[in-house]
């Protein structure tokens, strides 16, 4: 019991951290004025809004222990990364910026989705009789 509870806490903490990181990465929308040495990510206004909104959803998910919010945030970020990847082929970047925006949103999105799927599978594994008569 305590193990499952600890595990959930770690997942919630990770979700909150990923949400905060997502919001932090959105700040790179202002990075064009920085020297190129510090412009680690090039993201446009649409990408920044997506990162902030999904970051807030993930943070809220971690703080209030609502996994569906994490799933939504992860799915939106992953879809954004895929759209950016497809868009690069036709020189249209839905998130603005370049492939670095794809890498960041993809990483954060996949991490959130992995937390959802793995924690659900882990809980199921730890309670194989749960729900059975």
């Amino acid at each position: 019991m305590s193990t499952a509870s600890d595990s959930m806490t770690a997942v919630d903490r990770a979700t909150t951290t990923l949400g905060a990181a997502s919001i932090a990465f959105a700040c790179f929308v202002f990075a064009a004025s920085l020297p190129s040495e510090f412009e680690f990510v090039e993201v446009g206004p649409v990408g920044a809004v997506a990162l902030v909104v999904c970051g807030m959803l993930a943070t809220l998910s971690g703080l209030t222990r609502r996994p569906p919010l994490r799933t939504v945030a992860g799915a939106v970020l992953t879809a954004g990364a895929l759209a950016q990847l497809v868009g690069l082929a036709v020189s249209v970047q839905p998130l603005g910026g370049d492939a670095s925006a794809m890498s960041v949103t993809g990483g954060l999105g996949l991490a959130l989705l992995t937390l959802t799927t793995s924690s659900a599978a882990s809980l199921h594994q730890k309670h194989p009789m749960k729900g059975r008569p």
């Binding site: 595990s7 770690a10 997942v11 903490r13 990770a14 951290t17 990923l18 412009e39 680690f40 990510v41 090039e42 990364a81 990847l85 690069l88 082929a89 020189s91 910026g97 370049d98 492939a99 670095s100 794809m102 890498s103 960041v104 993809g106 990483g107 954060l108 996949l110 991490a111 992995t114 937390l115 793995s118 924690s119 599978a121 882990s122 594994q125 730890k126």
Partner: protein, 182 residues
């Protein structure tokens, strides 16, 4: 029976204990290397990856031919990579984008550390002898990935650290794969 080397009087401890500070330093290494890949995937621009203007990835891949480091690799680049830069460019973009994404969050970190070493070797063989390049940049890149692999850096403030226990007790194929790659 002791389970390890006991420090004796005057002898240094066998291992540095894993503390919050050392874990944070390992995570900083991982995230820093991820940011390097993230920043540098940005200038891999499809569809021609710089072929039209002899710039970008096409130019830098061509350095392997102009300033050969390893003759067979140079021949491969000249006869296979450059004529098909539109294909190899996408490989490069996906590999470096994946390196940035997965190392950033610490997911399947040891697998991606190996990928990073491979990509570093490819870059090194392309540009090591190019003018104005600092050879230690590439040695340090390889060593940084080696450190990420050796420390299993995803277990320090990464997704691997959060989920690995669950993966290791699961019977599924993907969790087992993730256990091995973390």
């Amino acid at each position: 029976m002791s389970r390890g080397i006991e420090p004796s009087a005057g002898a240094p401890a066998a291992r540095v204990p894993e503390t919050t500070t050392t874990a944070a330093m390992i995570a900083a290494l991982r995230v820093g290397v991820a940011l390097m890949w993230i920043q540098n995937v940005g200038w891999k621009v499809p569809p021609d990856f710089g072929r039209a203007d002899d710039r970008g990835l096409y130019f830098w891949a061509g350095q392997a031919v102009d300033y050969p480091v390893f003759a067979p690799y140079s021949a491969f680049v000249e006869s296979v990579v450059l004529p098909n830069i539109e294909i190899f460019g996408w490989f490069t973009l996906l590999i470096e984008g994946g390196l940035g994404a997965f190392l950033l969050v610490g997911l399947a970190t040891r697998f991606w550390a190996v990928v990073g070493i491979g990509q570093t070797i490819a870059i090194t063989l392309s540009v090591l002898f190019a003018p104005h390049e600092w050879h230690w940049s590439y040695y340090l890149m390889a060593l940084a990935h080696l450190a990420i692999f050796a420390t299993a850096a995803g277990r320090s403030y990464g997704i691997d650290g959060v989920l690995r226990d669950g993966w290791s007790t699961s019977t599924g194929r993907l969790p087992r794969l993730l256990t091995r790659s973390s």
